[in-house]
Symmetry: C2
Subunit: 263 residues, 2 copies
């Protein structure tokens, strides 16, 4: 939503196009230079940051909605996107008093005040998704109601996000760390070809622990999850590292066999 007119239409006719009581919130993880970052946005008039989110169109599947919302924020399609939990317990998801006030502040930018019965004021459960993106490829598009956005290191996320977004992002991180043992997480956070130090540092960053460089390489190669290429990355200081790529076929086969990664 990039214009005042679009926002007004959304407020007044959104209930015809979207399902009420349900939203999607998306923890978008991007990796760069030993740091795992999340995309946060600040809506107009809000003091605190939010996760990017949106509503489910009445004629699109849940998965389609999640991808659309992700694409609206990052301009990227076909990304790795994983549903991890639906949130409907926290105080802010029960009584909509705070929600109403918060919403009202934002929508005052287009001169509307949401009545208590308005569809945007009602109790809303949120379906949480997390996405993995190449940090450098993302072009964030600010929307009409978004004052500010930022990529924040996951360690630096403030304690006071709006609603229950702190809970959502914590659960997303926990899920990501559990999934890293069972899915080619790096495939979506790195470029097609990557060096061993790059993927090694990625795993160390996500898991928040040190992993022996040499054993890490051995394990991924032995299981056939990555494949060493002939090319070397010439740029960079000191010795030129080889390039590697994921072997997705082997990866899925290993998953079926029940091979488990441990570090």
């Amino acid at each position: 939503m990039n214009t005042r007119q679009e926002v007004l239409d959304f407020v007044h006719h959104g209930a015809e196009r979207f399902l009420p009581h349900l939203s999607i919130d998306c923890a978008i993880f991007g990796y760069h230079d030993h740091e795992l970052k999340t995309l946060l946005i600040r809506h107009h008039g809000q003091e605190n940051w939010s996760l990017p989110g949106g509503y489910i169109g009445r004629h699109e599947t849940l998965t389609e909605a999640a991808h659309r919302i992700l694409a609206e924020k990052t301009q990227l399609t076909g990304l790795f996107l994983q549903q991890f939990y639906t949130f409907g317990d926290s105080a802010t998801r029960m009584n909509n008093i705070k929600t109403e006030q918060t919403h009202n502040t934002t929508y005052s930018k287009v001169g509307v005040s949401l009545s208590p019965g308005h569809w945007l004021s009602e109790r809303t459960l949120s379906i949480g998704y997390y996405a993995l993106v190449d940090y450098l490829q993302v072009v964030v598009t600010p929307e009409f109601l978004v004052d500010e956005y930022c990529w924040l290191n996951v360690a630096d996320i403030p304690q006071e996000l709006v609603y229950d977004h702190n809970e959502i992002i914590q659960k997303a991180l926990l899920t990501l760390r559990a999934h890293i043992f069972q899915q080619p997480i790096g495939y979506n956070l790195l470029r097609d070809k990557f060096t061993l130090p790059e993927i090694h540092s990625l795993y160390e960053t996500i898991l928040c622990k040190q992993i022996d460089r040499r054993n890490f390489r051995k394990k991924l190669l032995t299981l056939g999850l990555i494949r060493q290429l002939d090319e070397q990355k010439k740029i960079g200081p000191h010795r030129s590292p080889f390039l590697y790529e994921f072997d997705l076929e082997n990866y899925s086969r290993a998953l079926e066999d029940g091979s488990i990664l441990t570090f």
Copy 2:
């Protein structure tokens, strides 16, 4: 809902008490004698079986709703209940044509025909939970609209459950099998004190594979997940097996340490 009057009230005034567009479906797993069973119900007029389910009250949390629905079906409270996925993709969750017809057949028992705009006819996403119960403790209470219920071996579940319930139960099983390595699953399916053959058979049943009896015992004892008691179960033929109990403290400590069970 046990009377015609309650059902009529639910149909006509349910939208005031429950959130539309959302339901909870529950895969209730019970274990007994080497077999993993699921509770299925058959609504009035339906040819196919369903998972037990219900709606979310406007003034209860999502978790409260799940426990209430479970208690309504099994008369048991405080059970292990785990949310695992929210379903909003399948054809039956997109167009509500089939849903309308199916619903209408059931509600014809109380003489109502649901109009297209009726809250029960609208598109509904379903939040999936799975529960683990002691099969023998459950007292299933048939409701007014339920013609029949049964405990069906998970291997014998028919291919034609209503809506996307086959998909839901498959995902529940997959999740259960993944969680068995990280949570004291047996704690909720067995009694407080159990014998080694009992828990061994439970794990074999859930994982659908044979596990060496002796290594299985060694692993659980070494990790401190179960504790051997002095008592022996005198009943039963042949040698009297010792009784064991879960060591929940050690269990949660092992989880934090990241110890992983493998069989």
